[in-house]
Amino acid sequence: MKIKIDMKKFAAWFDDRLALTPIFKYMTHKEVPQHEHSFWYYTGSSILLFLAIQIVTGIMLALYYRPTLEGATASIERIMTELPLGWLVRSVHSWGATFMIAFVLVHLLAIWFTKSYRKPREATWMTGMMLLVVSMMFGFTGYLLPWDDLSLAATKVGTNIPAAIPVVGKWVTQFLRGGDDVTGDTLTRFFIFHVCVMPLILFAILAIHVLLVQKEGMSIPLKDELAKKKVPSLPFWPNFVLREVVIWLVLFGVFMTIALAFAPSLGPTADLMAPAPEGVKPEWYFLFLFQTLKIFPANMGPVTGEFVAVIIIVITVVIIFFLPFIDNKPEGKKGKVFQYLGIIGVIYAIVFSIWSLL
């Protein structure tokens, strides 16, 4: 008996229920402006590429990882030494985090310097900032999971920072640690944050961010907007998407080469009773904050130096978060000031990161 499947009817059934035609129509009618800064548009989609890599490799690692005091380092050891290409999967996951956060930062700086956060894209900027913080939290929670001596020491330092905040600080530290100190409970907690809580938050914010990008469209350079110049554009599908795929392929090749050549090792098993090893460093994207905390003296009058540093960092993050409202006239003098502040910020982060490595 021959079963004939009418593909047109099949497609129509889906279209009826999921309303796919308007989405496809939108994709084919959407246009992407072409100008001297168009290259930066690709940084946004590259983040999605690395996010996809993180999800796939994260699931693969989670199949064998055990978030317990006894099992954590042993399971990573097993992944690295027994499972076929386990060390490579771990390396891809580790490097994927680095690439993802690097691209989030580059994307953010591109938006900052092209002033694409200006009206009506304020909410897009704010959701983007939230995504940066969530990505960094992913990195922070994931760093402890191998449960080696360095990750334990770095997490002790990292979770102690909120304690400097008055009133709620100690509670935040206790909440993060699941007690007064970093223990097996912290490990389980961080694992749950890393694989359950953070992904939920990330996908919720990402959905809003992508929706806003679609709603407002891609921004054009400020000078073209002021001159009311008509900027040439390309269709999103297929012209722009195909260009994106070329960039993804090259990035993926470079990324895999690095992951193959520089696979991360696993340090000695963490010992809760042992003193912190020498040269404890957080991940590269926290280095400048780490160094900032270090340069403050222990006491500054009635308060601790750490408290002052944390307050300065929090205020800076809040200012950056509300940047579109503060820099509300990007074409004027204020706009230039924020442009220079951005450059100073980048130089500061680079210099302090290098300093902390010396």
Partner: protein, 141 residues
């Protein structure tokens, strides 16, 4: 236009499915009793209890508590578990860049064609080249 697109998908599918099938086959086979010495040395020189890892999936709960408490003091450096894995990785690496090169070649053809069609305003009936040029291909071709 149609030929490069078909070629592109053929190449993409074969390049993706080939290594995936190989990886699935590799994952299905239990790890060989390979480089025990390497695993041993990396795991714990002072911990003979960790030597025995014959099963590819040892249940964590059934392990004796004493075994889990052994602390590893030496770092584990990632290394190939055998010549088979090393060869597989080298082949994968060469295949990866070859596949990227081939795909980019086809993508470039596709981009050129898409741009040509767009700038010729092929899909805009008002300014379509077909309006003035009766020899221009129709959408169905």
């Amino acid at each position: 236009m149609r030929t490069p697109r078909i070629l592109f998908w053929l190449v993409t599918v074969s390049l993706l499915l080939g290594p995936l099938a190989a990886a699935a086959q590799q994952a299905g086979t239990p790890p060989e009793a390979k480089d025990k010495a390497q695993v041993e040395a990396a795991a714990a020189p002072a911990a003979p209890a960790q030597e025995a890892k014959p099963s590819p999936a040892p249940p964590a709960a059934k392990k004796p508590a004493a075994k889990a408490e052994v602390k590893r003091t030496e770092p584990i450096v990632p290394a190939y578990t055998g010549i088979k894995e090393k060869t597989a990785v080298i082949v994968f690496f060469v295949w990866l860049w070859f596949a990227i090169g081939v795909l980019i070649y086809f993508l470039r053809q596709w981009i050129k064609e898409s741009d040509r069609i767009y700038w010729a305003k092929y899909y805009e009936p008002e300014e379509s080249p077909r309006k003035d040029n009766p020899m221009a291909p129709t959408l169905g071709d």
